[in-house]
């Protein structure tokens, strides 16, 4: 009887930080310095992300700008990540770190749901995230706003790259967090209605978009309700449309290559030859 190997992601993780790539990185930096070439910078999500609790659930919001140094790499990236049907997580910091960290914990949550046959709790996601981030001592640059609804109510957590967490009724993270927090501190109240909550979240993200250089483009929102429904809206507010800018660029008509420009000389059709493999059935010994 062969051994059953349990899922390694739930087993003891290798202790400490893996320094395998540090030597390689040092070599690359040396070579780059000698040849005066410019190393690519990690794509960061400069970012404004927010989360707040309202009467019947949680509203999360995020901007959509991803930067690499001072250049905007992605004008419409997705910063609200799926963790579970009832839990979503906004991420600020290095884009790859937030993406992969949330994916990893999302799959751990799914396995746990299969093993326990019950829906995930927000505090579980928070603990899994903080344990992992603490193990890496802040080298994984992921600052997260985690929000969701579970059997014990609606919850919002803030998680820092070094592994500390805070549970709050409303929170903001990222470079635009100060701008967004100023809006929250002025207008947040206990027990807001859904429409008021969504309006407040949009307002705070817009504050980040217009007052912080690291945040921009448009605002995504995610509403998670206690009754189990979720609504993710990409581009809930889009004050910076790209289409009119593109349309204003005058391109030579020679660059518009229409259908039929390349002449078709001949067409042949050869059907693939598929042979059916030999099928034999042997009964198992009882």
């Amino acid at each position: 009887m062969s051994e059953f190997h349990g899922n390694s992601s739930l087993d003891e993780a290798p202790p400490g930080f893996s320094f395998d790539n540090c030597h390689r990185n040092a070599m690359i930096e040396q070579v780059a310095a000698k040849s005066n070439s410019v190393l690519p910078t990690a794509t960061k999500t400069g970012t404004t992300i927010v989360g707040m609790v309202y009467k019947d659930g949680v509203v999360l919001g995020a901007d959509t700008r991803a930067t690499g140094g001072t250049e905007v790499c992605d004008k419409n990236c997705e910063k609200i990540h799926y963790m579970a049907d009832n839990i979503y997580c906004c991420g600020a910091g290095t884009a790859a770190d937030t993406e992969k960290t949330t994916e990893m914990i999302s799959s751990q949550l799914e396995l746990l749901r299969m093993n326990t046959k019950s829906p995930s709790r927000v505090v579980t996601a928070c603990t899994l995230l903080k344990r992992m981030l603490f193990r890496y001592q802040g080298h994984i640059s992921a600052a997260l706003v985690l929000g969701g609804c579970d059997v014990s109510g609606p919850h919002v957590y803030q998680i820092y790259p070094h592994g500390s967490t805070g549970k709050l009724p409303y929170t903001t993270m990222g470079s635009g967090s100060l701008a967004a927090m100023s809006v929250f501190e002025t207008e947040w109240r206990d027990d807001m209605s859904e429409s008021e909550a969504v309006e407040l979240v949009k307002k705070s993200i817009l504050a980040g978009i217009f007052n912080d250089l690291g945040s921009g483009s448009s605002c995504d929102t995610c509403v998670i309700r206690m009754d189990g429904t979720t609504e993710v809206t990409r581009g809930a507010v889009a004050p910076n449309p790209v289409a009119p800018l593109r349309a204003a660029i005058n391109r030579s008509s020679k660059l518009n290559i229409g259908k039929g420009t390349t002449p078709v000389l001949s067409t042949t059709f050869t059907p693939a030859r598929v042979t059916l493999a030999d099928v034999t059935v042997t009964e198992m010994e009882q």
Binding site: F134, G138, Y160, H162, G163, S164, G166, L168, L178
Partner: protein
């Protein structure tokens, strides 16, 4: 390391004075600090623990209502100061080991045992941690007791303990106002007053005051909001 007359001895071996506390200098970039003022006093029948509510990243207040008093067990609590991530991880470990110990021994753990576990972790990992904690609680042997575990991992049982960056501003106050044999009400008032004074002077402490009163019968959480402080910066 030479000692200059009038200068405070630093925890770190470099001697330059840049106006920052030992705690701020040793935080990594972007790390969240429970800047803090924490305090604990035993009284006849239990212990009062108190803390401010400010968690900061550099000059920004990340959480203005944070809870720095954590339950390690039914009647044993701990106040956290230093790096938020390090102290949260430490208290999770100690909670885990304590609960295992209780399953094995079948009885309530002693505050001394909880403090020793905390001290062991703090001392043996001192190179990688920045954590100053105060462990306080009630047990059937010692009644109320308080143990201070500052940065290096020393553990000292004290008649009362203060810690965190704001504690430096209230040493004079607590030394002059402390008296042996306080009852529960006196101890609570003393804690709130001392922390309020520290919050008035220390930039890394502020917001609200959280208290926990631990007795044989139970734990009572208290809260003083920012506009009801016994002492405010303008001397209200």
């Amino acid at each position: 390391m030479s000692r200059h007359y009038g200068q405070m001895q630093q925890y770190s071996s470099n001697n330059f004075h840049d106006g920052k506390s030992a705690e701020t200098r040793n935080l990594k970039r972007g790390e969240v600090s429970s800047g803090t003022t924490i305090m604990a006093i035993p009284f006849d029948g239990g212990v009062v623990l108190g803390a401010d509510g400010r968690t900061s990243t550099g000059t920004y207040v990340a959480n203005r209502v944070s809870d720095k008093i954590v339950a390690l067990h039914d009647r044993i609590w701990c106040c956290r100061s230093g790096s938020a991530a390090d102290t949260q991880a430490l208290t999770d470990y100690v909670k885990h080991y304590l609960s295992q110990l209780c399953v094995e021994t079948g009885r309530l753990p002693l505050v001394k045992v909880a403090a020793s576990l905390m001290r062991k972790l703090c001392y043996e990992n001192k190179d990688n941690l920045m954590a100053g904690v105060i462990v306080g609680g009630w047990d059937p042997v010692e009644n109320g007791s308080v143990y201070n575990i500052p940065l290096g991992g020393t553990m000292i049982k004290m008649p009362f303990a203060i810690g965190g960056s704001g504690s430096t501003y209230i040493y004079g106050l607590v030394d002059s106002k402390f008296k042996e044999g306080m009852n529960k009400e006196e101890a609570e008032t003393f804690v709130k007053e001392a922390i309020a004074h520290a919050m008035a002077r220390d930039g890394s402490s502020g917001g609200i005051i959280r208290t926990v009163v631990v007795t044989e019968d139970g734990n009572k959480r208290g809260y003083v909001s920012g506009n009801e402080l016994p002492y405010g910066p303008a001397g209200w």
